[in-house]
Structure formats: structure tokens, C-alpha cells
């Protein structure tokens, strides 16, 4: 499968994941108050628990796509970045890969604390916040790394 197609698919799914995780985070951290009907309030006025399964599925898809793309980055994209001494771009990717792996392992617990263990609100909020920060960081870092090297 052409690597460019996979990269674009990775970008498209990241938008879906970003939307879902942002709605959920806003619903948890900044829920809509009664009477608020503006655009931002509607984005916050969701049932956060309804996003859990979609977020897990989208995250796993994103992780698989990223894993398939990684060897191409390692062979074709990273060496020129090293030659150009753009180490901060490589660093963005290093942080991204580490975030992605550790949060992947947190997903079963994330599901559990949302769906089976409602008593621990602090845990649910903390895990959701970590997921929100990691997904946003990985999306922005991925874009910057891609823009630094380009598609071809």
C-alpha cells in the first residue's frame, strides 16, 4: 500500500480522534451549564461516556497506522533531518512515539474507569486529560515532523 496513502489516512483518522477526545474532555472538565446554548457550550454539552469506545477504536487504528509508517520515517525522513541538524524535529517525534506507547497501555484502564467503575471521578478525569493532551500533542507534532520533511 503506498506510504503516502497511509500517511493521509493517518491524518484523517487523527482528526476524528481529536474531535472525539476534545468533546469528551470538554464534557468532563468544562461541562455545559443549564441555559447555555452557544456554539462552544454545545461542544461541551455532550455525554462524555458515549465517546469511550469510539476513542479506543480510533486510537488503536491510529497506533497501527503510525506503526506501519514508522519504518519509512526511520529510513527516509530521519536521516536528512539528522544531516540538517534539525534535532528538535526528531525530538518531537521521539516524544510522540513514547506518548503513544504508554497511552496505548492505559486504554484498557481508561475503558474500565469509564464503563465499569464510576466511583472514581478523579481517576476518570485524570486519565481523560492525559489522553486529551497526548492526542493533541501527537497530532501537532506529527504535522510539524511531516511538514519538516514533506511527503516525498
Amino acid at each position: 500500500m503506498p506510504i503516502t496513502f497511509l500517511l493521509i489516512l493517518h491524518g484523517i483518522f487523527s482528526v476524528f480522534l481529536l474531535g472525539a477526545v476534545t468533546h469528551q474532555f470538554l464534557g468532563v472538565a468544562w461541562p455545559r451549564r443549564p441555559g447555555q446554548t452557544d456554539f462552544v457550550a454545545r461542544a461541551r454539552g455532550v455525554n462524555p461516556g458515549g465517546y469511550v469506545q469510539a476513542i479506543i477504536i480510533l486510537y488503536v487504528i491510529e497506533f497501527i497506522l503510525g506503526s506501519l509508517l514508522y519504518p519509512t520515517y526511520r529510513v527516509l525522513a530521519r536521516p536528512p533531518l539528522q544531516d540538517l541538524q534539525l534535532t528538535w524535529v526528531i525530538g518531537l517525534f521521539e516524544v510522540k512515539e513514547n506518548f503513544a506507547a504508554i497511552v496505548l497501555a492505559m486504554l484498557p484502564s481508561y475503558w474500565y474507569f469509564w464503563k465499569r467503575y464510576p466511583d472514581y471521578k478523579t481517576t476518570r478525569t485524570a486519565v481523560t486529560t492525559i489522553l486529551f493532551i497526548v492526542v493533541w500533542y501527537n497530532m501537532i507534532a506529527g504535522h510539524l515532523v511531516n511538514n519538516a520533511r514533506g511527503l516525498f
Binding site: S67, Y70, P71, T72, R74, V75, R78, P79, T87, W88, I90, G91, L92, E94, V95, E97, N98, F99, A101, I102, V103, L104, A105, M106, P108, S109, Y112, F113, R116, Y117, Y120, T122, T123, A126, V127, I130
Partner: protein, 120 residues
Amino acid sequence: MDSKIASRALPAFAIGFALYYAPAYSFTGATSTFTWPLFTYFPEIDQWRWGLVAGSDTSGPPMWWYGWIAAAALVGLAFAIIALLLPERATAKLWSNAIWIVPIAAFAFLWNWERVWFGL
């Protein structure tokens, strides 16, 4: 999954994973004495080899990321099994806090090694 099992096994898996992954990333090098990744992938020649293998002119750059994840998953499973031996009620609060504190600590630990990329 039984709630009593999941309440310990799932957080313990993530905690064990993070506790292994962070030092694995930080301490892996071509001359490491401990084999942190379970295997090494060489994308240029499309070959997998067990354990920690350094790159060379013929094999190209090594990728240890997949090997770290596999090894960390095994450690996570071991943590999950050990967690099941602990009393459920007495440790519930511990798991519910550690599930987010340990990953944040792992990120902080990793940052200490990653900041070199940013000249910090």
C-alpha cells in the same frame, strides 16, 4: 471481564508497562549491557532479530520501539498477574491513583532524556 479482576489487573498492566518502557527508552543504546527491547527491526533490509542488536552499514538503522513495546507488555502482564494476588478492597484506591500518577511520572522521566533533542 469480572470487575474484581479488572480493577487490579488493568491498571497494573498499564503501570508495569510504563515502569518498564520509560527506562527501556532511556537506557537502550548500541552498547547497553541489558537487552531492553525484546527484538530489533531493521527497516532497510526488512529483518527482525531477537534482543538488542546494533545497526551497521549493511543492516542499516535499528528500530527498537516495537521491541520495547513487546517487552513492556510482558512486564505489564506480569504486574497484572501479581496484582491479582493482592487483596482487592485494600488496593482499590492505590490502583485508581497509580493509573494516572505513574504514567505522568514516566513522561517526566522520559522528558529528562528527550530534552537533549531540543538542546535543553
